[in-house]
């Protein structure tokens, strides 16, 4: 069934896309691109290094100074004013404008990882232990200084709402890999061990399809009730009844198609059938009974609680196994404007063991080679303190000029740190990586040239990396092919 997903629009846009990439339009290739036939999707630009992505998004902006970017020299500069040469007239938020900027050294220890030789915070022991598989990037930077635009920018390539998210672009560009589940799934944590105080809002635009057809939008799984909204049959309808109803609609729809001639009717039939398959596939997906204790233990004790980041990591692995293209996790609670030392350890606890387990689990199953894992927030945090400033009590404001994140798996060079900041983790001094460069690199690893993955809208050939400033694939973090 080549027409499984084909509304004409999708076809037309995809034709344009294929033309712009210089590809022919063989029926088989088109069918594969449109997905739904179970075949691997075609990669149009170059051979991919990764086929799937797990994006662990740390909403609220984790402090690079306390987690990733070791600055031992700061300890002796406690409460010293930030040198103007470093500050450089940087704009600040409304919260710290006009205040003096005094250095707040991290109170947390760092250690050199025995498997990679890279410095990691003592708050992240599990990640440190798998850091031979991780590329830690310390030189990320962004334009946004507030959460909402920052998150919107990282997730969609633009601070202004209305652009498609990364997962939507991949769904559009590469099509579906499976017949029973969505291409793009979103999982949000329901609680944070670091407490609620530093939690920021989310918006469905962070996983929206923007100007792309709506079928590319992320499907947000729910913690309670149906994992996918409206998945379950309502009371009074069981699977036999549902099948019988769908047989009737299919038969009548087919009759109507014969009379009317509109191919859209056949799409409706196909989508109703996929809905029926999803009703079986999704409960199977979220049922963890088949997971051995050993695997559950790997993810840590929180995995037993619905809505935990740990549970979502395990679910992400199960989705990747079932060929969901893009899984995005949102973990909030990183906005540590005050009492950071009290609340950061809980946050680190939430993500450290589960994300390390995810890497181990994927690797054991042979999935890490072609699954890209990305971990990042929307920006970093300032070296100068905000609020109360003691050695063991401080907060940090938003900092777009430099922050840290990491990548692992499909096509990434493990065991390295990339990029360097100054002694204050304030400015980047070597190998800067813009957020749009991360986007370009992600697409590159999936076999797509970010300048050729385009969609015509508002008179522009729109792309994830925007048209304003040029994005670059970060060659230095790629592994040997």
């Amino acid at each position: 069934m080549h027409d499984l997903f084909t509304t004409h629009n999708v076809l037309q846009n995809r034709r344009r896309f294929l033309q712009s990439t210089g590809m022919g339009l063989g029926t088989t290739a088109l069918g594969a691109l449109l997905g739904g036939d179970g075949k691997p999707a075609t990669t149009p630009h170059h051979p991919p290094r990764a086929r799937r992505v797990i994006f662990l998004f740390m909403a609220g902006a984790p402090s690079q100074l306390d987690l990733f970017d070791y600055k031992p020299g700061l300890s002796k500069r406690f409460r010293e004013p930030l040198p103007p040469s470093i500050q450089g007239g940087q704009r600040v938020t409304a919260m710290t404008r006009g205040r003096t900027q005094l250095v707040a050294p991290s109170m947390f220890g760092f250690h050199r990882s025995s498997v990679s030789g890279v410095y990691w915070s003592d708050l992240l022991p599990h990640l440190s232990n798998v850091s031979d598989k991780i590329c830690l990037v310390r030189s990320l930077h962004t334009n946004a200084i507030n959460h909402d635009p920052g998150k919107t920018y990282f997730c969609t390539g633009s601070e202004i709402p209305g652009k498609p998210s990364i997962g939507a672009w991949l769904s559009y560009g590469l099509g579906a890999m499976n017949r029973d589940l969505p291409d793009f799934v979103v999982l949000t944590s329901a609680y944070w061990t670091g407490g609620k105080r530093n939690v920021q809002g989310l918006y469905s635009r962070l996983w929206s399809s923007g100007f792309l057809p709506g079928r590319h939008q992320g499907t947000a799984f729910q913690v309670a009730g149906d994992p996918v909204i409206f998945l379950s049959n309502p009371a009074g309808i069981d699977r036999t009844i549902r099948r019988r109803m769908l047989d009737a609609t299919a038969e009548l729809n087919a009759q109507h198609h014969a009379e009317i001639g509109d191919p859209e009717i056949r799409t409706t039939i196909a989508q109703q059938e996929m809905a029926f398959r999803m009703q079986a596939a999704v409960p199977e997906l979220v049922d963890l009974q088949s997971e051995p204790t050993e695997v559950l233990d790997l993810y840590g004790p929180e995995v037993h609680k619905p809505g935990s980041f740990a549970r979502n990591c395990l679910l992400a692995r199960r989705m990747i196994e079932r060929d969901v293209r893009f899984v995005q996790l949102f973990h909030r609670g990183w906005d540590h404007h005050s009492i950071l030392p009290k609340q950061l350890p809980g946050q680190a606890y939430d993500v450290d063991q589960p994300s390390a387990a995810l890497i181990i689990d994927l690797a054991r199953r042979g999935l890490l080679d072609d699954t890209l894992v990305v971990f990042a927030g929307e920006f970093g945090r300032t070296v100068y303190g905000q609020g109360r400033l003691e050695r063991d009590d401080y907060g940090r404001d938003h900092h777009p000029r430099c922050f840290s994140g990491w990548l692992a798996g499909g096509g990434i060079q493990g065991g390295i740190a990339y990029g360097q900041t100054d002694d204050f983790s304030y400015n980047i001094v070597d190998q800067p990586v813009a957020v749009r460069d991360v986007h370009a690199t992600m697409l590159h690893l999936l076999g797509l040239d970010h300048e050729r993955l385009v969609f015509p809208f508002q008179g522009l050939d729109q792309r994830l990396t925007g048209v304003e400033e040029r994005a670059h694939v970060v060659q230095g973090i790629l592994g040997q092919a």
Partner: protein
């Protein structure tokens, strides 16, 4: 009329760097683009087939078809037409009685009288308003950060009334742009100026106020461009527009009309009365007579109580000992009285309808070109002006006002205003605009499929005094509109968007119409109009998963009773997570202006229509009504069901499928009595009702609601 070929963005950037546009080249490009020159009157062409055309519209369409060697389709059958008209003009399906009345009316003007009746329906106003609300990104929350409640319903109600009462489009536009600038603005004109308050707005204390101000002004200006000019002026925020002759200076000169709001650029502080009401100055209040009297009484009492507190305080100060104590005690009780009166007053004020409006500051805020669109990097100062490539702005002695801007927009020789408007109305009725890109009439937008027809409609619209109902009537009276949508698969494949108009358009109903139809056809729709937005049930936990701990509101609490059965235009719209029943069917988030919705067909849509519990409850209501109906045979009941939902009578094959399915369902429910129990839970059955029968008919009704022809306008 040639247009530049599409370049990839990268190539064009390179091109522009090598050869920046001179102003002369810009002007040349402007004059060469069809949409930047005034519409030209054209005599409708003569056609070979003179029988088919009913109006000028049809002659334009027919001539184009003949040039392509095509013929129009015959008219659709009357059942299809009454359904099409009803859905297109009111967003609601015709009742079975309405269908039958139309079929029975064999008078010459039966169709026209049907059209007139639907245009006169209050539901026409609601349906027309819904498209406009997409265009101006209407919502019930501020859309950023906490995504707090924001009270905008008076604006929504005004839009509904404006369409219902057929406010001429020029006044409709003028009042939104400049309602507050009129010498003596009416209540409605003030509410209309709330158009400028619909943008996203960030919470106080997060961003810097000057950044927020810039962002709001850019948002307002962009909305003006999309809604009235059909141009992507927002592309000129950071640099001169890459394709259209809009310079960055043009953008910021235009933005100077919108940068002088006499109000804060960020939401108010929490804890205030305004905050709880979702209001922020400037706003106007409309208490009813009772509220007004009560408020006046309380204010008077408050004044008195306050005066008493003051007097007692002075007395207490001047006294000593026991006397002082006595004064203090009396003061305390007077203060308690003040507190209580305030509470009473606030309780009433919360319920007083109020609308946020536009109002100018006395001293004009200067406008600057923002270099690279950066608020922190203001460049040259600019005065209020309209883009140079469009007609000249007529102004008075002082700085031009928004009223001058509105008059400029509505001048008969303006090349965009009327074309952009009629194209959107056309798009509503035909699924696609004559210009496919309803949001972009610039050089990168699509060319009109029928340019002379578009101009004819634009000029007729202006000549009619911008009469929207007259335009809608002319469109639906045409033979072009009345065509059948049946065609060969080859014809569908050859022209999937129906741009040649050789058949009637067939497209999925918009999200709101899908929901409203389920409620209306089932007989449960509550037709109450206007008022604050309501919350029909949605799956639990959706808001909680995205909200901040102190967002207002944070927890979704569904309404009950009649409120959950009202039309979707009254559904509460949280921008951070809009109602899923609507977004799953391609409703936009209302975070930015949308002139044209996508139409997709997805498994999540199938799940929604199959499993939404309120929809099944509605189907059960319909099943029950059909079973109670005096109609005797099963066949008649099946016909009744099919006709109620689809407006068509089932043919023998369809009847066969329905009856066979019913038999299967009945058998299954008979074997699984607990399933039938679940289906009828909460109902008190009459003596002659059986659970199995009601369950089977409910499932059958739901089946018919899930047909492609049910969710499709054809």
């Amino acid at each position: 009329m040639s247009r530049p070929t599409r370049h990839t963005a990268g190539a064009l950037v390179a091109l522009l760097i090598i050869a920046p546009l001179t102003s002369q080249e810009g002007a040349d490009r402007a004059s060469a683009h069809w949409a930047f020159t005034a519409p030209v009157a054209a005599t409708p062409p003569t056609t070979q087939n003179t029988n088919w055309p009913r109006s000028a519209i049809d002659r334009f369409v027919q001539a184009a078809l003949e040039a392509d060697g095509l013929q129009p389709n015959p008219a659709a059958d009357r059942r299809t037409l009454v359904r099409r008209l009803s859905l297109d003009l009111t967003g609601l399906p015709p009742s079975r009685d309405e269908v039958r009345a139309f079929l029975a009316d064999d008078s010459e003007d039966a169709y026209e009288r049907l059209v007139d009746r639907l245009l006169a329906s209050p539901h026409y106003g609601e349906h027309m308003a819904r498209y406009w609300l997409d265009l101006v990104r209407f919502s019930d929350t501020n859309g950023i950060h906490h995504d707090h409640y924001r009270e905008q319903s008076p604006y929504r109600d005004w839009v509904i009334r404006a369409f219902r009462d057929n406010l001429p489009y020029d006044e409709f536009v003028t009042d939104q742009i400049a309602g507050d600038v009129h010498p003596k603005p009416t209540k409605d004109q003030l509410i209309a100026s709330g158009f400028h308050r619909l943008h996203l707005i960030i919470d106080v204390g997060t961003a810097l106020p000057e950044e927020s101000l810039a962002r709001n002004v850019i948002d307002r200006t962009t909305a003006f461009g999309t809604a009235f000019l059909g141009l992507t002026v927002g592309c000129a925020v950071c640099h001169d527009h890459k394709y259209d002759p809009i310079t960055q200076r043009d953008f910021f000169a235009l933005s100077a009309f919108f940068n002088n709001l006499d109000g804060a650029p960020e939401t108010g502080r929490r804890g205030t009365g305004d905050f709880r009401r979702g209001l922020q100055p400037p706003y106007v209040e409309f208490p009813d007579a009772g509220q007004k009297a009560e408020l006046e009484r309380l204010e008077t009492e408050l004044d008195a109580a306050n005066a008493q507190v003051k007097w007692l305080t002075t007395k207490a100060k001047g006294a000593g000992g026991a006397e002082q104590q006595r004064f203090d005690e009396r003061r305390q009780s007077a203060q308690a009285r003040v507190k209580q009166l305030r509470k009473q007053r606030d309780a009433i004020r919360v319920a007083v309808p109020a609308a946020m409006v536009m109002r100018e500051r006395a001293a004009m805020r200067p406008a600057h070109i923002l270099r690279r669109g950066d608020y922190a990097n203001p460049g040259e100062r600019v005065e209020r002006a309209t883009p140079a490539f469009l007609p000249k702005l007529t102004r008075g002695d002082g700085p031009p006002t928004r009223l001058h801007l509105a008059r400029w927009l509505l001048a008969p020789d303006h090349p965009l205003t009327a074309r952009v408007a009629v194209n959107r109305f056309w798009q509503q009725l035909f699924g696609r605009g004559l210009v496919l890109t309803a949001e972009d009439f610039g050089t990168q937008g699509s060319d009109p499929s029928h340019p002379r027809l578009l101009d004819h409609l634009a000029l007729t619209f202006i000549d009619s005094g911008w009469d929207v109902k007259a335009l809608m009537k002319a469109l639906v009276m045409s033979a072009t509109y009345r065509q059948s949508s049946h065609a060969t698969p080859a014809a569908y494949a050859a022209d999937p968007d129906n741009r040649r108009l050789a058949r009637g358009s067939r497209f999925r109903l918009d999200a709101e119409v899908v929901r409203d139809q389920v409620l209306a056809a089932s007989g449960v729709l509550v037709r109450e109009m206007f008022g604050r937005s309501v919350k029909p049930p949605q799956p639990a936990g959706l808001w909680k998963a995205v909200a901040l701990p102190d967002s207002l509101p944070r927890i979704f609490r569904a309404d009950t009773g009649d409120q959950i059965l009202r039309r979707s235009i009254y559904t509460f719209w949280k921008r951070g997570l809009p109602p899923p029943q609507l977004t799953i069917l391609d409703a936009p988030t209302r975070e930015f202006c949308v002139a044209r919705r996508e139409r997709t067909n997805t498994p999540l849509q199938a799940l929604l229509l199959l499993n939404e519990t309120e929809y099944l409850r509605a189907a059960r209501h319909l099943a029950r009504a059909i079973l109670r109906n005096a109609a005797s045979s099963e066949r008649e009941r099946a016909e009744h069901l099919f006709e109620t939902v689809t407006s068509q009578l089932p043919n023998s094959e369809e009847l066969h499928v329905l009856q066979r399915t019913l038999a299967d369902l009945r058998e299954h429910y008979a074997n699984r009595s607990e399933l039938a129990n679940e289906m009828v839970r909460g109902l008190e059955l009459d003596a002659d009702e059986t659970k199995v029968e009601l369950a089977a008919w409910t499932a059958l009704a739901s089946t018919v609601f899930n047909l492609d022809i049910t969710k499709t306008r054809q």
